[in-house]
Symmetry: C2
Subunit: 226 residues, 2 copies
Amino acid sequence: MKTKDKIVLTSLELFNEKGERNVSTNHIAAHMGMSPGNLYYHFRNKSDIIYEIFKNYELMVDSYLNVPTDRAIHIHDLISYLDAVFNGLWAYRFIHQDLEHLLSNDKRLREDYRYFTLRCLEGIQRIILAMEGSQIYRPMEDQQRKSKALNTWLIVTNWMTYLKSIHASDDPEEALSRKSIQHGVYLVLDYVMPYLFEDKRALALELQEKYRFDGIAPNPDRAKAS
Amino acid sequence: MKTKDKIVLTSLELFNEKGERNVSTNHIAAHMGMSPGNLYYHFRNKSDIIYEIFKNYELMVDSYLNVPTDRAIHIHDLISYLDAVFNGLWAYRFIHQDLEHLLSNDKRLREDYRYFTLRCLEGIQRIILAMEGSQIYRPMEDQQRKSKALNTWLIVTNWMTYLKSIHASDDPEEALSRKSIQHGVYLVLDYVMPYLFEDKRALALELQEKYRFDGIAPNPDRAKAS
DNA sequence: CTATTTTTAGAGTATATACTCTAAAAAGTC
DNA sequence: GACTTTTTAGAGTATATACTCTAAAAATAG
């Protein structure tokens, strides 16, 4: 593997683990057993590394949001979309940690991210439309489909942040459990449930149940105290 | 006003405007025309300033989520809750910009925030329950109410971040429009719509319409290109 | 008016960060 | 095997950051 690609991989790993803010270019170089000078031979600056990582992320997510054209769409498709998306978000979780800062530091990234978001929202709308086409979702107005897409996006992109914020331990090594990440699928399914045709609901509920996880926020005893 | 309170106010202002990461204690002092030494006389460190700001935020949000006990709850109540919450989020928007970093730097804050979240989720559930009680929401199971509360929370707490991320300009001075912030209310109302009793829906739709704003993401022409 | 406490200024420090520069080593080419 | 190009090391730099320390000014109390 090329050194350049290794830098990208290592950076992603460190950014996810410790947060982009806490990882300097010197850290990355040191972690790879290489000199800072070498790192800067491959990348002009830290932003360029981040940009490259984002491009990979973009590529991955774009590949997820394709509606099958050769056959009708099924509830299982919806679930595998969600599963894939949440895994992707996990693999690139540092991006959503302080997105605003990343965007304000790199004009290209800001612009690309903007269109990336719009593309995702359109992708979600196409999925909804396809589900309507195969009698899973009840038909809805354009405006409604738009809102659904946006709400879904908000839920999905905020799920990791939420999990990390209520995680009791401040040890970044203690990863969130796979189960708790998957509960995001449960939530999105709960969101779409009312729009399903009645005859599909039983199946959806059954599939949903596999993604449920109650152990996210233990001992809320103190919740009432300030 | 006490110097200490002025520091808190100025910090909040600067954090919101430029992002907490880009505002040093020296900046805060300079912006107030005072010496760093003076600032550190009032606060032991930056974290303590943030903690104080958070405590104000907490107080504010907690005050929002009270269900009226002297009368039945109405759709208008729901809307004024949402309106207030979004305004509150705007006023303290830096908190959600890189919450994870704030939490990982301050154990007290991490713990407090955790219980704050749980309290909010319970508050939302109580509101839902009250709405069921006054024949606005259709009755639902505990588990469902829990999911609704969590999804609402995810939508609400991510709305500012979303807006800022698709905002074209990188000029932090160019504030987001009031209208676009309010569209968050529209979205949450769209989310709850299916759970309303049919006879309440017309009114809800009418009220919702006032919060709609389409100018969030203009010219998505390029969205298909990568 | 004196004594004490609170508040302030301002210079200073240790550390980290993003990044540069030069020169040597390694790899590739003919 | 001479050469050219690519890759690397490593020392160094300018700047910023969070925070400390000392002493003077201002406010308060008796």
